[in-house]
């Protein structure tokens, strides 16, 4: 039986309703990506994040203030939380600085970690796109330098398609540049004050939400980073 063709007046109304709903979801921070919230690995950070955590398919930009800021560790910890849902953790290490034993001390199972050391920036972008697009990869961690608007948008679409959490570690110098990340977090180390205990003191980091979809922009939290 042939379907009745839609009338000209019906089509725009349905399209408009659909677009209105998407716009509402976007502005309210509701998920168009998935429903399972992934913890960042820190209760204090979860408390200020819209939705109480990250969603698979999101791109998170971790802006670290200089070398040794702790942003990379925090991002890796969040990426590993996403792997608890299943899948692999991919680490894209163009600079060949990533030290897997440190990941192991954070409780990451190296059996589920895939390390990629691409040769050029072009290959790195291609590999990142492939990893974000793959449903078998739960999260991807990458230290990302310059990325133009068009490429960034492509990464965002790939992450949404694959449902992969993309943790992009970047320098705070990228602050203010156009970004397609769903969340932009600034990470600053907090210096220890007073008498410093010997042994293994916890490290404190100050996180500021620079940009997010929905409420929460400008919120701050101080978290303890496990060593």
């Amino acid at each position: 039986m042939l379907r009745q063709p839609k009338t000209a007046s019906q089509v725009p109304v349905q399209q408009l309703q659909r677009l209105r709903k998407r716009l509402h979801d976007y502005s309210s921070g509701n998920s168009t990506l998935g429903t399972t919230v992934v913890s960042s690995g820190s209760q204090e950070l979860d408390a200020i994040l819209p939705g109480g955590g990250f969603l698979p398919g999101q791109l998170i930009e971790w802006l670290g203030e200089g070398d040794g800021s702790g942003a990379s560790t925090l991002a890796l910890q969040a990426a590993w939380q996403a792997v608890s849902l299943g899948g692999m953790l991919a680490v894209l290490d163009h600079a060949k600085f990533f030290f897997p034993p440190a990941a192991s001390t954070l409780g990451i199972d190296l059996d589920r970690l895939l390390l990629l050391r691409s040769g050029s920036a072009q290959e790195e972008f291609w590999a990142l796109d492939q990893l974000l697009r793959s449903p078998e990869v739960a999260a991807t961690w990458v230290s990302l330098g310059h990325c133009d608007d068009r490429h960034f948008r492509r990464l965002q679409l790939s992450a949404e398609q694959g449902g992969t959490l993309g943790c992009l570690v970047r320098s705070s110098r990228m602050l203010g540049r156009p970004s397609w990340a769903h969340l932009q977090l600034l990470v600053r180390p907090v210096p220890l004050q007073g008498l410093v205990p010997p042994g293994n003191p916890l490290r404190q980091l100050e996180i500021t939400i620079i940009r997010c979809q929905g409420p929460g922009q400008g919120k701050q939290a101080v978290i303890c980073l496990p060593q």
Binding site: G64, A71, F97, D111, L113, L115, V137, Q204
Partner: protein, 544 residues
């Protein structure tokens, strides 16, 4: 009739290592369900490291899982691999076919219950080649042995070869000869971890009897019952056996013993079937006029791929390794694709070829293209499990890789360099530069690996080459207040340490370092060390 015997010791283990080279260096245990009448799964073959942990062929798998590493050798968890006897047999058949380049007649040994060094094994693991055109003591024979040795080494197999006047003598020498009498052979270092060393022997026809005399009676390919009986009577060597009257031997031990002795000595002719080459997985296309366009070469490859997949149709086998050769004006160029899972998916294979071809330096003019499936694997279909195995469950080691992840890895390996896609593996080493190694991503889940000692703190980013620092602002004997390097000044607010790392004396340069974690006044943390030999300071890592 001179014969050359090629024995592949620990064949199930060698087969697995050839298919999955990433397993080299890990303890491997191959198990299979026991025969009817006995319970449980048992170990069929295991590597040298597993033997050190007290594992032997025949050990129940449950015992392995319960008692692994009770000797305190700090070995990583073993890789438990189920035995695929059909795939092993197919691969041995392929090797026999490959040996047709050395001899017009090659075959697998018969798979009767015979005693080999290491126990009674009823599956074939040796090849026999008729070499009637070659006398064993000629120079050609030695060259042939060397060529075969190199050929098998290149394929990833370790072999023991013997060339003798009869099939029985060649078999006996290959299995039971003493290594001190072997011809010089070059063995790749990775084979050292296998249990039985390689070797090559050749015995002139006139010396067959003399060479067999010192060998144990098991070298006659007799059943364990007959050899046990001979041992009870104190007959251990073939020389002792040969001095006994034949008629009485036959009466006491049955006809088998005399028949095998006759085969070995050449008193009776032994016949064995010759293998027939199966359908070739090599396809080629002549290009006239020669192609210069990359796109045209790609089309030619896709045409050959379709032919290759047609030849594989119905065999229930998929491509594991694909070799492509291009004939240029002066020389041949080639590349190979290694897959994680056997595939007959034309779209996937075609996309891999395209990815690889993008970065491959083609000759200016291609006059011929060849494509060969150099390794194939059975297309397995696994039953989906209702409950996923618990993490760390040893029995889950053979869980197959999801197809989509396998495809992703293959795409990444094709576009990037193959060694750019890695699984890190921790090593029992203290020096940061040597405490982990990259390994090829496995086609299955590995067991729980080594972990660092609790309380160990390491930076997430490690500089490939430590950067020299200039300390300043401190009295002698005090920790420096700040460090300078070419780019910046590090003002130290706090430091923790030292952690002494003194190791590597067996390498060219031993290290003696005191590592410190330092926090700068800004809160940033780094990992630095003082070289105790020279007193210099270096930045080695960032707690980034």
């Amino acid at each position: 009739m001179s014969t050359l015997c090629i024995w592949l010791p620990d064949w199930p283990l060698q087969y697995i290592l050839a298919c999955r080279p990433e397993l080299y260096g890990r303890p491997i245990i191959i198990y299979s369900a026991s025969r009817a009448g006995s319970r449980g799964t048992r170990v069929v073959s295991c590597c040298q490291r597993s033997c050190q942990a007290g594992i032997q062929p025949g050990t129940p798998l449950a015992e392995v899982e319960a008692n692994w590493d009770r000797r305190g050798l700090a070995l990583p968890a073993p890789q438990l691999v189920p035995r695929d006897s059909q795939a092993e047999h197919n691969q041995l058949q392929l090797l026999a076919e490959a040996c047709l380049q050395f001899s017009p007649q090659a075959s697998l040994e018969s798979a009767a219950d015979i005693v080999r060094p290491g126990g009674c094994q009823s599956f074939p693991q040796a090849l026999l080649l008729h070499t009637r055109h070659l006398v064993p003591d000629s120079g050609d024979s030695q060259r042939l042995l060397r060529t075969i040795q190199d050929n098998f080494s290149a394929r990833g197999y370790q072999v023991r070869l013997a060339h003798a006047g009869t099939p029985g003598a060649a078999w006996a020498l290959a299995h039971y000869s003493d290594l001190s009498t072997s011809l010089p052979v070059s063995i790749p270092t990775r084979f050292v971890r296998l249990g039985r060393p390689a070797g090559a022997w050749r015995v002139p026809c006139s010396q067959t009897q003399a060479s067999l005399d010192p060998l144990p009676v098991e070298a006659l390919r007799i059943s364990p019952q007959v050899s046990g009986l001979l041992h009870q009577l104190g007959i251990r060597q073939i020389g002792q056996l040969r001095q006994l009257p034949r008629q009485q031997l036959s009466l006491r031990f049955g006809p088998e013993l005399c028949r095998q002795l006759d085969y070995a000595l050449g008193d009776r002719q032994e016949l064995f079937p010759c293998c027939q080459p199966s359908a070739s997985h090599l396809h080629r296309q002549l290009l006239e006029p020669p192609l210069v366009s990359r796109q045209a070469v790609q089309q030619a490859l896709e045409h050959l791929l379709r032919q290759l997949l047609d030849s594989l149709a119905g065999s229930n086998r998929g491509i594991l390794q694909l070799l492509c050769r291009f004939q240029g004006e002066r020389k041949q160029h080639e590349f190979s694709l290694m897959l994680y899972l056997p595939s007959v998916d034309p779209g996937h294979l075609s996309s891999l070829l395209r990815l690889h071809l993008e970065h491959f330096d083609l000759p200016g003019q291609v006059s011929q293209v060849e494509m060969e499936a150099t390794m194939t694997g059975s297309l397995e279909r696994h039953q989906q499990q209702l409950f996923s195995p618990a993490a760390g469950d040893l029995s889950s080691n053979h869980r197959p890789l999801p197809v989509s992840l396998g495809h992703l890895l293959e795409r990444l390996c094709c576009r990037l360099e193959a060694d750019s896609v890695i699984h890190p593996r921790l090593l029992p080493e203290a020096q940061p530069e040597h405490c982990w190694e990259p390994s090829r991503p496995s086609s299955s889940r590995r067991g729980p690996g080594r972990t660092l000692a609790p309380g160990t703190i390491r930076p997430l980013l490690l500089l490939p080459t430590p950067r020299r620092l200039s300390p300043a602002g401190s009295c002698p004997g005090e920790f420096p207040r700040h460090f300078d390097d070419n780019h910046r000044r590090y003002r130290v607010a706090h430091h923790w340490g030292p952690e002494r790392i003194e190791t590597g004396w067996w390498r060219k340069a031993a290290v003696r370092r005191d590592y410190y974690r330092v926090e700068l006044v800004s809160g940033h943390r780094f990992w630095i060390y003082q070289d105790l030999y020279r007193g210099s300071w270096f930045l080695h890592g960032e707690f980034s």
